[in-house]
Structure formats: structure tokens, C-alpha cells
């Protein structure tokens, strides 16, 4: 049964950063901005977190620092798309590549060093359950905080005024402006919030699930996050399901290998991406669903009242 414990435990660990970053991206996209620079923001978050842990030893400080570093990067992105009115796709790609590059540069001296992993907490009593206990209830705290955050954001989007304004801006920035909301302001806040969460997600990967820094260690997870948000049709409840599903898919690879089944490792590594392509294609075919849930202004430059 050890493999089952490993499957659950691994899934939670792999899904947590996906969930955190995807929640941020949902907020950004709900405001009508497509942020494709998640991969770069996660990389920057990861390398900064690694350095902070190395020198301070505080994992929590590292998570926050990673988030802030990515937030700084997202300010650049926000400036380009909101004020300079840059194309969101091109700007996102450029800022993302810039982030990956900067992370590699800053992280060069720390390549392949390791740090102590983030402390795992045992949930009293529950972690003593055989098989399930160690799988579900023996993890660093963020693993449990992420779903809580998801519930909070779900509530915010559905019931709060802030959520309403965010959805309104994403659906029709012109109308939102006409009824008196600051479209650029709302989108700016959404972008930096998304940037912060992407940074935290990258930091988590670096200091909780792998404990070392290596260039390119985010390994496409930023792209999976973007696909995940679309897969979830911009709905938080589906982002949660999707994140754990993708988490399981990425861990399945290790399981198959350990079971001694001979499958080319490249094929296994590509499974999460294949799942992404298939899932996104299938879901996008249902144009009606997309139309009902997608933020209508997503990706469109908002010219404001000039």
C-alpha cells in the first residue's frame, strides 16, 4: 500500500502550486487580462524563495519574498498591457521569458545547492490513520491553506461586491467605466494579485516539494496553470478539481516507472501536457459554455476614454 500513500501524498504536493497559481490566474483573467507570463513569474518566485531560505532559514519568509518578487515582475507586465496598451499575448510571452531569464541569471551561483525542506505538520489523530494518514495529513501547511484560499476566492467572486466589480470589468470594461469604475485600477490590482500567487506557487515548488534550485525547474508548470484555468472555464470550483487531477497525472509518471513497467520516460513526462491539450480541445469545442463563462473582454486591449 506504500504506493497508494505515495500517490496521494505526491498528488497533494504537486497540485498545491498549480492550485495557488491557477487561482491567481483566474482572478487576472476574470478582470479581462490574459497573463501568459506565469512560467516566468513562478521561476522568479522560486529562485528568490530559495535564496531567502538559504540565508534566513525561514520558509514562510521565503514564500512571501517569492510572491513579492513575482509581484514586482507583474507590475512590469501591468504597465505594458494597461498603460502602454501592449498586446496581452505578446507582452505576456515577453515578460515570461524575461522572468525565466532573470531567474536563471540570479540563480546561477546557487545551481544544485539544496536547502532543508519546509516543515511538515502532522494533523493530530488523522495522520495516524493507516495508508491515508501519511498520504493526506502529513504535509507542509500551504498544502492545506491553498484549498482554503480557493474557497475564499470562490465566495468572493460569487457573492462579494469586489467579485462583482471584477467580473463586470472583465465582461465589459467600457460599461464598467461608464458606471464609474476605474478599469485600469481594478485590472492592475488583479494582475499584481495573480503575480503574487504565481510567485508563491513557484516558491512552494522550490522550497517545499523539491528543496533545490535548478534552472528551468518550473518545467512548464506555468503553462499547465494557464491551460488549467481554461479547462476550469474560469470557475474556482473546477480549478480545484483540475489542479488535483493534473497533480495526479504528473505523479502517475513516477508510479508507472516504479512499478517497473517499461515505458519511455519522455512519453511519461509528457502525459500532463497531453492531458492538457486533449482537455482544452474538448472543452473549447463547446462554444456555448465558453461564451457563458469566459470573461468577454479577455485579451482585448482596453483603450479607456482617450
Amino acid at each position: 500500500m506504500a504506493w497508494f500513500t505515495f500517490l496521494i501524498s505526491g498528488t497533494l504536493l504537486a497540485a498545491t502550486p498549480l492550485l495557488i497559481a491557477a487561482l491567481g490566474e483566474v482572478i487576472v483573467e476574470k478582470s479581462g487580462v490574459l497573463n501568459l507570463s506565469i512560467e516566468g513569474m513562478m521561476s522568479v518566485g522560486a529562485v528568490v524563495a530559495f535564496i531567502v531560505v538559504l540565508y534566513s532559514g525561514s520558509h514562510w519568509l521565503a514564500l512571501v519574498a517569492g510572491g513579492m518578487a513575482a509581484l514586482a515582475l507583474s507590475v512590469i507586465f501591468a504597465f505594458v498591457v494597461l498603460l502602454a496598451l501592449g498586446n496581452q499575448v505578446v507582452s505576456g510571452l515577453a515578460v515570461g521569458l524575461f522572468g525565466i531569464g532573470v531567474a536563471g541569471l540570479v540563480g546561477k551561483p546557487y545551481e544544485n545547492m539544496t536547502v532543508a525542506p519546509m516543515q511538515r505538520i502532522d494533523v493530530p489523530l488523522l495522520s495516524d490513520i493507516p495508508v491515508l494518514g501519511p498520504g493526506l495529513f502529513h504535509h507542509p501547511l500551504p498544502v492545506y491553506l491553498a484549498p482554503l484560499l480557493a474557497v475564499l476566492l470562490w465566495w468572493m467572486l460569487k457573492y462579494s461586491k469586489v467579485g462583482l466589480v471584477l467580473r463586470a470589468v472583465g465582461e465589459s470594461p467600457e460599461s464598467a467605466n461608464a458606471v464609474g469604475y476605474n478599469v485600469v485600477g481594478v485590472r492592475f490590482l488583479a494582475i499584481i494579485f495573480g503575480g503574487f500567487l504565481a510567485g508563491v506557487a513557484g516558491a512552494f515548488i522550490c522550497i517545499a516539494s523539491s528543496t533545490l534550485w535548478a534552472d528551468g525547474m518550473i518545467a512548464g508548470r506555468g503553462w499547465i496553470v494557464i491551460a488549467l484555468v481554461m479547462f476550469a472555464m474560469w470557475r474556482v470550483e473546477r480549478v480545484i478539481i483540475g489542479a488535483y487531477l493534473f497533480g495526479a497525472a504528473s505523479i502517475g509518471e513516477l508510479l508507472v516507472q516504479s512499478a517497473g513497467i517499461s515505458v519511455p520516460s519522455q512519453l511519461m513526462t509528457s502525459i500532463p501536457y497531453i492531458v492538457t491539450i486533449v482537455a482544452v480541445s474538448i472543452l473549447s469545442m463547446d462554444g456555448k459554455r465558453v461564451r457563458l463563462n469566459a470573461p468577454v473582454s479577455l485579451g482585448r486591449v482596453y483603450l479607456g476614454t482617450h
Binding site: 461586491k161 462583482l164 466589480v165 464609474g180 462554444g287 468577454v296 476614454t305
Partner: protein, 524 residues
């Protein structure tokens, strides 16, 4: 210029004006959209701003509402000079606006939409929305999603949203253009109630009858300037029109149609579900179009006009098995795309000029090529530039398009001129069937008359025309027969003699159905 000096002295003007515009100017580059506009608005009056499209009415309203900043001039609100930087400032002053193109959010409920403009939460607002609906005759379900509402209902939501902010001045931009005839009297009743309670209303319109029945004063604008201020109840349509367009109102001339026998285009029992979930399902549509006649399709917008135009033009295609449902000149073409149908002799003028009728970033020669490329403009895969240029020039000359020549970008033309160009371009293709959606939307009266006359001339040449329009007056002018579209169904055809405003009005709310559809009549 008689601006600023109050020509008409009625009792309201002894009081302090609520809003005073003092020599407002607004330029966009070299274009002067507003020049020295001075107007005073008093509490409790319904004040018309009358002018053609492009006369600068919208620009003026946008300056009052804080969407645009004036280039020069002063805005005085209740005796104090103010700077209205944004709509939020306008609202805090007590200025509300109901837009022509609504600023509602389709995926949100009525209450959620309204809660975006006021401090209360959506839940707390629901009873107040109902209460306002009662008081002002604006019933609407607070929990309904906006995309499920009719256009008339959406306008009510806009109005309620505006009223909940307790405005002193309400700007209404062409409010009747989205209503069926039966919806107009209740709206006017609501506006009169509001005015009696002391609220001033700025009523923007180019419909003369409405202004004469509703407003106490009218300021007339032409080419960005105020050309007169009158008491509309003492004027006739002719005198108002003369001030508005600077010459007599042109009326098209027509002789009775002599339609041919063989239909040029037919639709047989067509039912089509649009891919857009907010679209309208076309239900059992039957239509026969003969050469040498103009068939008008009337209806309140949002009842399937877009879907009908798209299925006729070939932007929406049918499965191959259903290709017999659409025939052009006897050829089954339901499965054909727009290009293939054009090859059969169909031409189409869509309702959006920019983006569908023309590409804004391309010049007029390139825009000519878009639909005329098959008419000898391309040889061995190469464009014959000279020929294309000649064609564009001819179109510009024939239709009297005001522009800086054939190499002007489409977006540099005013709406009316671009529309003339697009209609002219399609006419030059010598089509057998021409489908025109909203031929004169946003087009000034002079250009609209020219376009309508051109459509009638085309009919006399034996072309089959189908005109979809929200404006009844337009259809009464051009159409030989009319059918009304309501919730995706087409009414039986009415001849000119049968098509009275009353009949069409009743058809527009579903009167032709066996079981009259629920509530739209009172709802709209």
C-alpha cells in the same frame, strides 16, 4: 448665432438654471465636433437636443457626463463652475445617463448590475427595484439575468439604475430607438412623472414627432453648433427638419413595384439554433423574395434580425442535408458559404460598418477589392490596381462619398459616408439579390435619403432586395411588402396598403401568432 441668448421665455426660465453650458468646444484633431455650444437646462423641464447623426449631440452629452473632456468652455452646475473628470463625478453631482447602447453586463442579474452603481448589495436592492418599478411603471424582475431580457426591459433596467441614484438631471440618448411603438407612450409617461417631481431630462433624438409630443424646449444642433432653440410644440416636422438639416427634408420618389414571377431567393421552413447562447432561435422561417421588389423586415431589435441576416448571407451555413431550405435563383445553397453565395449573385450589406462591412485600417481601394475581386479585378492571381482604383473612384463619385480620395482609410470616413460607400460597392457588383441590414443606422438624414433612393432605383432595375431595419419610417418609405420578425418567427407578408403602424406594431409584439406571446406587449 443665437446661442446663449434665451429666445423662448417661459416661466421655468425665471429660476436659476440647473445646468449651464457656456461656449463648450471639443475638437478631435482638426475636426471640430462641438463649437461654442451654450445651453441652459432648468429643473423639471424635458429639453430636447435635436440633430442629425454627426451633429455633435453625443459628444456634447459625453462632456456633460464626464466621458470626454471639453477643449474649452465652462460647465456650470447649479450656479457653480464644475470640472466633470469622470462619470463618477457626474453622478455625484446628480447627473445620470441612459445610454443608447446599454452599459449593462449580460452575465450578471438585474440586481447585480444595479448594485454596481450604488452602495447597497444586490440582495438589499431587490425590493427597492420592485418599488421603483411600481412607482414609475417600470416592472422588471431583479433576479433575471440581463442577457435573457428584451431590449425594452434592458432600457428599464438602465432607467431604474439611473433613478436609484436620485439624479437631478437625466440624459437619455435616443431612448425610443430600441422600443416598439407600443413601448413609447409608457416611457414618455415615466419621463413626465419624473419631470413633475422636479427632475430635468435631456432628451436626445432625431425623431421629430416624439420631440414635439414630449418636450417643452428644443435646442437644435447642426455640424457641431447650436443653430436654434425653439418651443417644439409650436413647430411642425418640416420647420424642425429644416433647422436640423439646413434644407427641406428629402422624400424618396417611387412608382409601384413590378415584381417578377420566379423568386430570386427563397427560404423554406427554416429552423436554426445559433451557436451564440445569447442569440435568437429562428423558428420555421418562410420567405420568398422576387426580383424587382423590396421586402422589408421590421421588428424590435434582438428578435432574430442578426441571425436572419447571417443565415441569408452565408455567414452561418446549414448542414448539407438541409441545403434545399435556402434557394438563390432556384439553386439550393443552404450549405454554401458567403463567398459561394456571392458567386450566385447575392450581395450583402451588414449592420456593422466597421469590421464587417469594411475593414477600418484598409483604404477604400482595398475595401472595394474585398467583395469586388471576382469582377475582373484579379488576373492570373495578381490584383489589377488600376481597375480597382477606377472602381473605387466610381463608387465614390456615384454615391457622393465625402472622403479624401480612394486611398483614404475606411476608418477616416464618417459613419454615413462609409455606409454610402459600402452600399455603392455592393451595388456595383450588379447583384441579383441584395440584402441590407440597417441601411441607415447612424447615417444623417441627407445621406439616408440618398441611400434609400438608391435602393428603390435598384429595385426598378429588377434586383430583389431584402431590407432589415429597426426604423419603421424607413421601411414605410422603401418597402413594397413587409414582414415582421418576433422572437425568431416571421409574420405573414403585408402589402403597403395593409401595413399600418397599428398592424405592424401589433405584429412587433407577437400579434400574428395564434397564441399571442406572453407579456412582451406590456413588457416592452
Amino acid at each position: 448665432m443665437a446661442i446663449g441668448k434665451e429666445q423662448v421665455l417661459t416661466s421655468v426660465e425665471q429660476r436659476q438654471p440647473l445646468l449651464q453650458l457656456d461656449r463648450l468646444c471639443k475638437s478631435f484633431g482638426a475636426m471640430r465636433a462641438n463649437e461654442d455650444v451654450s445651453i441652459s437646462i432648468y429643473p423639471g423641464e424635458i429639453h430636447a437636443i435635436l440633430g442629425e447623426n454627426g451633429a455633435g449631440k453625443s459628444t456634447l452629452m459625453k462632456m456633460i457626463y464626464g466621458v470626454l473632456a471639453p477643449s474649452s468652455g465652462r460647465i456650470v452646475w447649479q450656479g457653480e463652475e464644475v470640472t466633470v473628470q469622470s462619470p463618477a463625478v457626474a453622478r455625484s453631482l446628480g447627473i445620470g445617463m441612459v445610454f443608447q447602447h446599454f452599459s449593462l453586463f449580460e452575465t450578471l442579474t438585474v440586481a447585480e448590475n444595479i448594485s454596481l452603481s450604488v452602495p447597497e448589495s444586490a440582495a438589499a436592492l431587490s425590493p427597492r427595484i420592485a418599488e421603483f418599478g411600481q412607482r414609475f411603471g417600470l416592472p422588471v424582475d431583479p433576479l433575471a439575468l440581463v442577457h435573457s431580457l428584451s431590449v425594452g426591459q434592458r432600457q428599464r433596467v438602465e432607467l431604474i439604475r439611473c433613478l436609484l441614484q436620485k439624479p437631478r438631471l437625466i440624459i437619455m440618448d435616443e431612448p425610443t430607438s430600441v422600443l416598439p411603438p407600443s413601448g413609447i407612450p409608457p416611457l414618455f409617461e415615466t419621463l413626465r412623472t419624473l419631470a413633475d417631481e422636479g427632475c430635468a431630462i435631456l432628451f436626445i433624438s432625431h425623431k421629430l414627432d416624439e420631440i414635439r409630443s414630449l418636450c417643452q424646449r428644443a435646442t437644435i444642433m447642426r455640424a457641431g453648433k447650436v443653430v436654434g432653440a425653439v418651443d417644439p410644440t409650436r413647430e411642425t416636422n418640416e420647420t424642425l427638419a429644416r433647422m436640423m438639416i439646413g434644407r427641406e427634408l428629402p422624400h424618396p420618389t417611387r412608382v409601384p413595384a413590378k415584381p417578377g414571377e420566379t423568386p430570386a431567393m427563397e427560404i423554406r421552413n427554416l429552423t436554426s439554433v445559433p451557436t451564440d447562447p445569447f442569440g435568437v432561435v429562428l423558428n420555421d422561417v418562410d420567405l420568398t423574395l422576387r426580383p424587382g421588389e423590396i421586402l422589408g423586415v421590421a421588428g424590435v431589435s434582438g428578435n432574430g434580425q442578426k441571425e436572419l441576416a447571417s443565415i441569408l448571407s452565408g455567414e452561418t451555413t446549414l448542414p448539407r442535408a438541409e441545403r434545399e431550405r435556402i434557394l438563390i435563383d432556384g439553386v439550393a445553397c443552404g450549405h454554401m458559404n458567403a463567398g459561394q453565395r456571392r458567386a450566385l449573385g447575392l450581395a450583402f450589406v451588414p449592420e456593422e460598418r466597421n469590421g464587417r462591412g469594411a475593414i477600418p485600417e484598409m483604404n477604400l481601394v482595398q475595401n472595394t477589392l474585398l467583395t469586388a475581386h471576382a469582377n475582373g479585378l484579379v488576373r492570373r492571381g495578381f490584383i489589377n490596381r488600376k481597375e480597382a482604383r477606377t472602381l473605387a473612384d466610381r463608387c465614390i463619385a456615384d454615391m457622393d462619398v465625402r472622403c479624401q480620395g480612394a486611398y483614404a482609410e475606411a476608418r477616416s470616413l464618417s459613419g454615413g459616408n462609409l455606409q454610402k460607400f459600402i452600399v455603392g460597392r455592393e451595388i456595383m457588383l450588379k447583384p441579383k439579390v441584395l440584402i441590407v441590414a440597417q441601411p441607415t443606422w447612424g447615417v444623417d438624414v441627407g445621406a439616408a435619403a440618398a441611400i434609400r433612393q438608391e435602393l428603390i432605383r435598384l429595385r426598378d432595375d429588377g434586383v430583389a432586395l431584402l431590407v432589415v431595419s429597426d426604423e419603421l419610417e424607413e421601411l414605410f418609405e422603401v418597402a413594397d411588402r413587409m414582414q415582421v420578425i418576433f422572437r425568431g418567427r416571421l409574420s405573414p407578408s403585408l402589402t403597403r396598403a395593409e401595413a399600418s403602424t397599428a398592424t405592424i406594431g401589433s405584429y412587433m409584439t407577437g400579434g400574428f401568432l395564434d397564441r399571442p406571446a406572453d407579456s412582451e406587449a406590456e413588457a416592452a
